[in-house]
Every structure is written in structure tokens, then in C-alpha cells.
């Protein structure tokens, strides 16, 4: 059985990835990062809307979560790529998006939007739990000092909520790295699309899918290490509590920036 596997292909896919594959991996990573950022922003907006005094905003926030958590992500991706422009009557998803130095393919834009909007529905719950974890007295103290709701949220509540938000946020990004593989269905050339195309040309599923699985494992593995470092720093400084929030955050991110600079 094993004899029918071409180990040479697996070896070269893992140890000598070609530049097309590396580009595909780059696409996977930036789609995941941008979609996650969009998810955080939308989740924050939806979480604040949920607490609003205005009923329409609360309903909208609930509807958002209902729809995007209640329907398959794959359907959302197809709907946004093929249907958004028709539905809206204007071009939300361009054929190519020109961003000065580089251009984004329309499928990539649609993929990022779909992943980001979907992620926002899950982030809303995470951010809400973080806000709920902050003692009510904090908001009261802030308002008794004459702060408006916005200022109190930004300066007092959200910095404290972020402690609760960061660990599940790390898990969400781990998921996101893998979920990006779905956008191959609308023609985005990312890691899984690369594997799929090689498979369809050679009919060697074991080799190419095993190799791409390895690369996903590398991405999530690296992220797991970074996440563990962030959480360790967060809990360590929570025990010490001698650092300001910003210092704590910058310290927590040091391994990320160090890793990005190429140190280890």
C-alpha cells in the first residue's frame, strides 16, 4: 500500500516549496489576518450595539449574529462573491481592487469580507463576555467623574475587558488560519487551492493533501506558540500588576515582534 505513495513528492513539497506555493501561503496568512481584524471591529461594534438603549440597534445586532452564525460559511462566501453586487445594485466586490503598491483580486476581497463578517458574529459574543466581566462599578465610577459612555468604554471598560478577550481571540485566529481554505471555492489561489490544482493534474491525493496539511500545521503551530507566549505574559503581569495596560500589552507582544524580526 505505502509503496504506491510517491514519497519524493511529499519530501519536495515540504522541504523545497516552490515560490508559487510560498505565494499561496502568503495569501492564506494575509487573508486570515485581515479577516480577523475585520471580525474584531465588527464584533466590537455589534457588542456595543447589543448594549444600546435603542431597540433597532439591539435587534440589528441580534439579527447579524442569527444570520451569520446560523448559515454555512460556504454559503456566505458564495453569496457575497456572486450575489453581493447584484443585491446591492452597486459594485461592492470589484474585479480587482487597486491598493497603490499591490492589487487584490475580487475573489480575495469577497473571501476576506465573507470570512471577516462571519467572524464578527462570533467575536461579538467573545467581546460581550469580556465587557460583562468588568465590574459594573467601573462604569459608575467613570460616569460619576463626568465621563461620557464612549469615553468610559474606551478608557476604562475595554482595556479591562481585553484581558478576558485575548485568550479566546487567539483560538479564533487559529480557526481562521484553517477556515481560509474555503475561499479556494471562489477561485482564490491560496494554500489549499495550490494543493487541489496539483492533485487534479496528477491524481495523487495522498501526496499533495498530506503536504498541505503539514503546512497548515506549521502555521497553526507557530501561532500556538505565539498565543501561549501572549497568554503567559498576560497572566504573569496580572499577578505582578505593576505594569500599565500599555506596557503589559507591548510586553505581551514582544515575542511576536521579535519573531517577526527573525529572532528565533
Amino acid at each position: 500500500m505505502l509503496a504506491s505513495v510517491d514519497w519524493h513528492i511529499i519530501w519536495s513539497r515540504i522541504f523545497h516549496p516552490d515560490h508559487i506555493f510560498l505565494r499561496a501561503m502568503y495569501t492564506t496568512v494575509y487573508i486570515a489576518v485581515i479577516a480577523q481584524v475585520i471580525g474584531i471591529v465588527l464584533g466590537l461594534i455589534a457588542a456595543l450595539m447589543r448594549q444600546s438603549k435603542l431597540l433597532p440597534l439591539r435587534l440589528l445586532s441580534g439579527l447579524y449574529v442569527l444570520i451569520f452564525r446560523g448559515t454555512p460559511l460556504l454559503v456566505q462566501i458564495f453569496f457575497i462573491y456572486f450575489g453581493a453586487n447584484l443585491l446591492l445594485g452597486f459594485t461592492l466586490i470589484p474585479n480587482t481592487l487597486h491598493l497603490g503598491l499591490f492589487n487584490l483580486d475580487g475573489a480575495v476581497v469577497a473571501g476576506i469580507l465573507a470570512l471577516g463578517i462571519n467572524e464578527g458574529a462570533y467575536m461579538r459574543e467573545i467581546i460581550r463576555a469580556g465587557i460583562d466581566a468588568v465590574d459594573r462599578g467601573q462604569m459608575e465610577a467613570a460616569r460619576s467623574l463626568g465621563m461620557t459612555y464612549r469615553l468610559a468604554m474606551r478608557r476604562i471598560v475595554l482595556p479591562q475587558a481585553s484581558r478576558v478577550i485575548v485568550p479566546p481571540l487567539g483560538n479564533e485566529f487559529n480557526n481562521m488560519l484553517k477556515t481560509t481554505s474555503l475561499v479556494f471555492t471562489i477561485g482564490v489561489y491560496e494554500m489549499f487551492a495550490d494543493a487541489e490544482i496539483h492533485y487534479s493534474q496528477t491524481f495523487k491525493p495522498v501526496e499533495f493533501f498530506l503536504a498541505v496539511a503539514f503546512w497548515y500545521l506549521v502555521l497553526t503551530g507557530v501561532w500556538t506558540i505565539i498565543q501561549a507566549q501572549i497568554e503567559r505574559k498576560l497572566t504573569a503581569s496580572e499577578r505582578g500588576d505593576e505594569l500599565s495596560f500599555l506596557e503589559r500589552l507591548s510586553q505581551a507582544w514582544t515575542p511576536v515582534s521579535a519573531w517577526a524580526r527573525g529572532a528565533r
Binding site: D135, G137, Q138, E140, A141, A142, R143, S144, L145, G146, M147, T148, Y149, L151, R155, I156, P159, Q160, D241, E242, S244, F245
Partner: protein
């Protein structure tokens, strides 16, 4: 040093503008408040004059804290009216009807009213000084250097100059509450509200907080103090008010109040706690 209190070492904490404010600082008329079907305030009347310290005492559940929280509109009242410095709190009057004020104008009114909470509610992600300068900088728009200078002065006055860069988690309850008082004073309020400020403290540190509050009262700050500390009420209050079942049932100067209460309910309550 955090041993000495040293309040008033450099003149009064009360700005001249506050001293020139209207004669009556707080006027509450027939204030009603319910939580759902539960009536908590059933017509509270109270007037507090400039430089006066009024202590509100009474059994728990009598509505003392709720009334205090209504004064800076942390709780909405259902009927009646509360004025601070001659301005209606939380509401606007239009054709004889009360309409709730916009968020920003309520926030503006709250700048003038300092509040100290039972559970301190210091911001745990900011240092002692950070807690104090946050609102002056972000709300009043005072330049940072100026706010820091004032903040350091206030820390010194509550005897915590050495704790400038320490986070609340590393401070004792008494120290936290003194920082909380300094934080409220940093906004230059014309009125200070104390909501059972010593109830959550260990007995051995209650004294240091009461000392700060007494000093403040002596310097002429207008204060409303909800408290169970009868010794403090006797020493520092100009008037003591007894609340029971959502009403103020008796009020008067502390000598009369404690030595010759007119109401049977007050006598009963005093005999139980003294």
C-alpha cells in the same frame, strides 16, 4: 508617607469658585424611586447648604444609597425633583414636564459632583496617580503637566505621595479609598457624595479614611455622607438625617439627634447600633 494624613497642609482643598456658588447646593423635593414594583424612595425632601456636611443614617434597605445615587443621576428618579447648584439634575423642564437630559449634559453636571463608593471602584489598570489625573485630563481638558501637579498635591494631602506609581491591587483598602477620594477631588467638585465609604474596610483602616473626610468637612466642602459610623456623624456632621422605609423621618444637628431623638424609630435604631 502614607502614615500621616497631612490634609490642609497647604490651604483648603476647596476652590474659590466653589465657595461662591449658590447658597443651597442640593435641593431634593418629594423624590420617588421604584425598582420595578418595589418602592425604594417614597418622597424624600432634603436641603443641603454650601459648606454643610449632612450625614444620612438608617437601617439597610431604607433607601439611603439609592437616594445618594439619584443626586448624581446614577439612578433615575420616578417623580419629584433634585437640584444641584440650582440646576435640575438629569432632566430638562419643558412646559412643566420633566424630560430626561442628553447624555453629555448629564455628564457635564456630574463633573461638579464627586462620588466615593463603598467598593472604591478605582481603575485597576491605572496607577494611583493615573486614576486621579484621568478625568481632569480627558473630561476637563486640563494640560497633563498641570493635572499631574494637582494630582501629586492631592496624593500628598491624603497621605499617599509615596504610592504615586502603585497600582490599586497593591494598596490596602484604606489606601485605595483615600486615592478614590483624591480622584473625586481632582475634578474640583462643589459637592461630595460618600456612599458608605468605610463599610467595606477593615476596622483598623477605617480611621485613616474618616480622618480625611473630617478634614474635608472642616475645610468647608459640601458633603452628603451615607454612613454607619455614628462617631463620625457626631463629630463631623452639621446635620444628621435618619432614613427609614424610603423617607427621611427625622433630621437635626447631631447633639439633638443623638441625645434627644424625637422619633421612636430613631431611638430604636440608635439603641441597636450604639
Amino acid at each position: 508617607m502614607d502614615s500621616g494624613i497631612g490634609l490642609g497642609a497647604r490651604g483648603p482643598l476647596i476652590p474659590a469658585a466653589a465657595r461662591e456658588a449658590a447658597e443651597v447646593v442640593v435641593r431634593a423635593v418629594d423624590v420617588h424611586k421604584r425598582f420595578g414594583r418595589l418602592k425604594v424612595l417614597k418622597g424624600v425632601d432634603l436641603e443641603v447648604k454650601r459648606r454643610e456636611t449632612v450625614c444620612i443614617i438608617g437601617p439597610s434597605g431604607s433607601g439611603k444609597s439609592t437616594f445618594l445615587r439619584c443626586i448624581n443621576h446614577l439612578e433615575k428618579i420616578n417623580s419629584g425633583r433634585i437640584e444641584v447648584n440650582g440646576h435640575l439634575i438629569g432632566y430638562r423642564e419643558r412646559d412643566g414636564k420633566l424630560i430626561e437630559d442628553s447624555e453629555s449634559s448629564i455628564a457635564r453636571q456630574r463633573r461638579e459632583i464627586g462620588m466615593v463608593f463603598q467598593r472604591f471602584n478605582l481603575f485597576p489598570h491605572m496607577t494611583a496617580l493615573g486614576n486621579i489625573i484621568e478625568a481632569p485630563i480627558r473630561v476637563r481638558g486640563i494640560p497633563e503637566q498641570e493635572a499631574i501637579a494637582t494630582g501629586e498635591e492631592l496624593l500628598e494631602r491624603v497621605g499617599l505621595a509615596a504610592k504615586r506609581d502603585v497600582y490599586p491591587g497593591k494598596l490596602s483598602g484604606g489606601q485605595q479609598q483615600r486615592v478614590a477620594i483624591a480622584r473625586a477631588l481632582a475634578m474640583n467638585p462643589t459637592l461630595m457624595l460618600f456612599d458608605e465609604a468605610t463599610s467595606a474596610l477593615d476596622p483598623e483602616v477605617i480611621g485613616e479614611v474618616l480622618e480625611v473626610m473630617e478634614e474635608l468637612a472642616r475645610e468647608g466642602m459640601t458633603m452628603i455622607v451615607v454612613t454607619h459610623e455614628m462617631g463620625f456623624a457626631r463629630r463631623a456632621a452639621d446635620r444628621v438625617a435618619m432614613m427609614d422605609d424610603g423617607r427621611i423621618i427625622e433630621e437635626g444637628p447631631p447633639e439633638h439627634f443623638f441625645d434627644a431623638p424625637t422619633q421612636e424609630r430613631t431611638r430604636q435604631f440608635l439603641s441597636m447600633i450604639i
